[in-house]
Symmetry: C2
Subunit: 297 residues, 2 copies
């Protein structure tokens, strides 16, 4: 599924080195954007980190917390001298921000993002000639059910996978710089197509979020005093932000619909085995889940 | 749902005090039975803790780990002088062990258990006159996806709920001693009917286990390198022991079948909203799960 690395990095058998950057612009300085800023500054990877957002107060908070050097609500001035722009907004606003960054930013700018879905974003960006030549889609698979820059951490990306989703239209130099950028933050970089990414993430992330939410809503509140670890862990991410997640679900409808259907089919088998009291079917279903889980560990 | 406490403990407005016990017998010295032994010994609650099991080697390990003072595979000698017997086997063997303890044990013995389901056990015990007058069903809601005495901990029960399920046939003195016993291990004791217990636990524990297993089996193994926190937490308990859990599912078929159906219905609403791209339905579904989860926190 994953494409091999670029020729250069494959020969070197390690990630390309990131040269110290001048200005990096981060659009959306929440948990992810804030953690990128903290990591860039903690690792001395950039001379200046500019936060771009819609709310000056939150940008001021990000500055106080050390996630950015300065913050602005004026996108064009924020992008003006940036060598790298990282778009960390909810997924439904990413493509638009990429196009705007490509318009306002200097020649040679690398634009990347941190969106949890990729196909719709990459398609929308590639419809724009200027944006297409600057952009490499990315998804650092790190996060939390908590939001906001106050939960940001400089080590959020250490040893986490970052999926890059280049296409036949992605310039090789931007791809190499993008690998170097995310590696420098601590990520293990993989490459795959936007479709493969979205299909996998429908199962590994979006479905678990829906399951957690459905489980939380199904357990009667009057029984919660008898809930313990299995409930607590199984519903943890149901506390996440609804705006972020609704946008993700909408951007990945087809793969996610298929993932829900696969789970429904499995639950149907469980229900039949439970209702029938079918000992060996229950045991087999359990063993299959257990083996899959052990592969993850 | 929960019945009020007994008269005595209600007047005192705290749990009855456990007098130091002579011998306590524990049948099944794994994670739960071993933790009971460790807690009894760490808190100086008994003069002697006897482990009863089928495998002398495992009993020897429990003794080395300090969970019991001695171990025997001979049930009748193990029960002979015990003031309290705690049955910690898989649920499908509990009623039989209770009946045997009642036969072999001294007059006045308290028998309790740690089974995750209660109705079938209580019904089977109450069909036996001698066992009925000695038994109080219990379920300390504590555990782990790990098994065996090597994972036992003296503090496993601290601040955890223990549900007692007395019936109209349960003698008041045994109920009071049983409250004192589980409280002395650190539990917060609640009382409820066996049916109420099984109905609640179908939702708060058994369903989350099935969901974790179904989710683990649904995610394609080739995508696991892109799985992160939501998958990890949502599938954690899928690694638990299949013998234990098959027995629990079988003993709670009707409530559990209803719980799976309730979840299926909720997932059906999710699938419709995803496939239709219905923004406001997605948002509403998410908010409902989020509110329930926040009540738990």
């Amino acid at each position: 599924m994953a494409r091999s690395a670029t020729g250069i990095s494959a020969i070197a058998s390690k990630e390309p080195i990131l040269e110290r950057l001048g200005t990096v612009a981060i659009v959306g300085v929440g948990l992810i954007g804030g953690s990128i800023g903290l990591a860039l500054r903690a690792r001395g990877l950039a001379e200046r980190v500019v936060g771009i957002g819609r709310d000056q107060e939150r940008l001021d908070e990000a500055r106080r917390l050390g996630a950015i050097d300065e913050g602005t609500t004026d996108h064009s001035s924020g992008f003006a001298s940036a060598q790298v722009a990282v778009i960390c907004t909810p997924v439904d606003r990413i493509a638009e921000e990429v196009r705007f960054a490509a318009q306002c930013g200097p020649e040679g700018m690398l634009i990347t993002d941190a969106g949890s879905t990729k196909r719709a974003i990459v398609e929308a960006v590639e419809a724009d000639t200027r944006a297409r030549t600057a952009f490499v889609g990315a998804h650092p698979i790190a996060g939390s059910e908590r939001n906001g820059v106050s939960h940001a951490r400089a080590d959020l990306f250490v040893e986490r996978v970052c999926a890059l989703t280049p296409t036949g239209q992605t310039p090789a130099d931007r791809l190499e710089r993008c690998r170097a950028f995310w590696s420098a933050l601590g990520c293990r970089v993989l490459e795959m197509s936007p479709d493969d990414h979205d299909h996998s993430l429908a199962f590994t992330s979006h479905l678990p979020h829906i399951v957690a939410s459905a489980l939380a809503a199904t357990v009667p509140v009057e029984s919660l005093n008898l809930a313990a670890g299995a409930y607590r862990d199984g519903t943890r991410v149901a506390g996440a932000d609804s705006v972020l997640w609704s946008a993700i679900f909408l951007a990945n409808r087809v793969p996610l619909g298929a993932a829900i259907e696969a789970l429904e089919s499995r639950l149907g088998r469980w229900k039949s085995a439970v209702v029938a009291g079918d000992d060996s079917a229950l045991d087999q279903l359990w063993q299959e889940g257990r083996r899959s889980r052990q592969l993850f560990d």
